[in-house]
Amino acid sequence: MSAGERTPILSVRALTTELRTEGGRFHAVDSVSFDLFPGEVLGIVGESGCGKSMTALSILGLVPRPPGRIVAGEVRFEGRDLVRLPERELQRVRGAKIAMIFQEPMSSLNPVFTIGEQIAETLRHHERLGRRAARERAVELLAKVGIPSPAERLDSYPHELSGGMRQRVMIAIALACNPKVLLADEPTTALDVTIQAQILDLLQRLQAELGMAVVLITHDLGIVAEFAHRVLVMYAGRVIEEGPVEAIFESPAHPYTQGLLASLPDLEGEIGRLSAIPGSVPQMGELGPGCRFAPRCGLVEPACLAADPPLARTGARAVACRRADLAAAPRERVA
């Protein structure tokens, strides 16, 4: 099934978000474009600081206003551009049509309100449910996310729950109004490994059940391999590769993606040195005019330093690398 046949539910075009710091102004999200199709799980991977979280925040207009703002691009959803939508309208979309869950379950819930209240208020606000109806629905939701004794738990405070349970509550809140899109920003990073698996299973189950489209942001390739249908690879604020999960893992086109996959320890092969990508992620103020990955790239040539390569599409895949066709070979070829 090629991308052209379905209509995307969410369409991001040239989204650019600027951040101001003491070091200066730079684009945390630089001309990012992608489509999200109904019912699919799109993984966004990249190292810390590559702009993946910012992209999600930008979609919902949640970028913290003093240091950051969206300066260009559009986000099309249900025939409207979310970037240009007035705040009031955007509030109707948030939580109801597009929901988001975050990385830190410990601090993402308000400590002075019960979890029941925090779930119910979404329902009361978006779906105009009365108190009793909202409470009942909240109990159902808690049960759905796998919290035992949901009716009693309703009146618990966040500090009385473990990290995994809090994340389940966050999911319950997000799903309360049956959103069409779920943005999950590193939902399991802060949890223990065993809990991680449980939460991801839960997400997968719910996604299949409700037919939501999910944007799963993570730095963990393993999670992407297991749960995503398509993958976006980001580096220094840009999308540098895109494609179906199997294809990307099989034959990564961009040298960075190759590097990422090569650095995964091989369970079956011989024991050798772990390969790492030399150098480190550039500081945002230090970017040159050329390809951002050039300083660390094994295939760099002079043309790479002159201009940033655009994202070139062929069928279901896209890659932003001048030497991509050469590099579209099996995994070994990195340096």
Binding site: P278, G279, E286, A294, P295, C297, G298, L299, V300, A335
Partner: protein, 296 residues
């Protein structure tokens, strides 16, 4: 080929130049800190060079010159005794700042001592903190007037009273820092190497508690100047005819209709001093307390 490719631009990006005294530079860039420094600086200069700035003796009575408004002849005007208000207010600056400084010094000494002992030795903590709490149960001015009532009026007694009143608050701040620093790994390392408690406290713990202490002492300076003014307004500070801002205001109160400048000017002087100190304290806190560095 490969090694060549790898040896590219990583080195080309020059490291930013290292700058010395980063904290001092940040302070000097903090606008409100500079305003505070200016305001307090003016008062400090007046206090330090009071004797050079005064031409007429502050206590010199000249009845024929009474109630002169501020003008070219008498910069701050005169009072009911014809005394030069300029001389009195400037001289008052000397005393007010001296008292403030005295209180700060005593606070630094005893507050640090008590706070360090309470924070470091768990056995002493409970006892010391209960005593501090008991002192803090009395409102500041009330305790100060209680002590000065017992000891008698005068500047030295005012210093003792105010030092006693504010020391528990300083001790609290020091204790809080010590409690945190005490748990650090390098303290354990020092202990493991056989350092004595005294050495650990002096060399390792206290230097790391300086920042909040300095901020607190700046504010204490401000509070003491204000409190001393209240005390002398009530008649508990330096005895007349020695001028303090507080007792000038008290005396001027009777003539507030015919000569409002007598009350007005010392009040402004007080405001300038306390405002300056508050701004200095705010600036210091912004720069020295890393938690609050986010906003810009």
């Amino acid at each position: 080929m490969a090694s060549e490719a790898l040896a590219t631009p990583l080195e080309a990006v020059a490291a930013p130049p290292k700058r010395r005294f980063p904290t001092l530079r940040r302070l000097l860039r903090h606008k409100l800190f500079l305003v505070g420094a200016l305001l307090f600086g003016i008062v400090l200069t007046a206090a330090l060079f009071a004797d050079f700035l005064i031409q007429v003796d502050p206590n010199r009575i000249s009845i024929r010159n009474k109630f002169r408004p501020p003008g070219s002849e008498w910069i701050f005007g005169t009072d009911n005794f014809g005394r030069s208000q300029w001389s009195r207010v400037v001289k008052g600056a000397q005393l007010s700042l001296a008292i403030g400084f005295g209180v700060v010094l005593l606070n630094a000494l005893f507050g640090t001592l008590l706070g360090a002992l309470a924070g470091y030795f768990r056995a002493l903590d409970n006892v010391l903190m209960r005593i501090m709490d008991a002192f803090m149960a009395f409102p500041v001015i009330l305790l100060a007037i209680g002590i000065t009532a017992a000891l008698g009026p005068g500047s030295i007694n005012a210093v003792i009273a105010l030092a006693a009143v504010y020391t528990p608050r300083t001790a609290r701040i020091v204790r809080a820092s010590v409690l945190v620093v005490r748990e650090q790994a390098y303290i354990e390392a020092a202990r493991a190497m056989g350092a004595s408690h005294a050495r650990i406290l002096l060399r390792h713990v206290l230097p790391n508690c300086m920042a909040p202490l300095i901020v607190q002492l700046t504010f204490i300076f401000a509070y003491s100047v204000l409190s001393e003014a209240v005390l002398s307004f009530l008649g508990l500070g330096a005895e007349p005819p020695t001028p303090t801002w507080g007792n000038i205001i008290a005396e001027g109160r009777l003539y507030i209709r015919e000569a409002p400048w007598i009350t007005l000017i010392p009040g402004l002087a007080l405001a300038m001093t306390v405002l300056g100190l508050n701004l200095l304290g705010d600036g210091l806190r912004d720069v020295l307390d890393p938690r609050l560095k986010v906003q810009q």
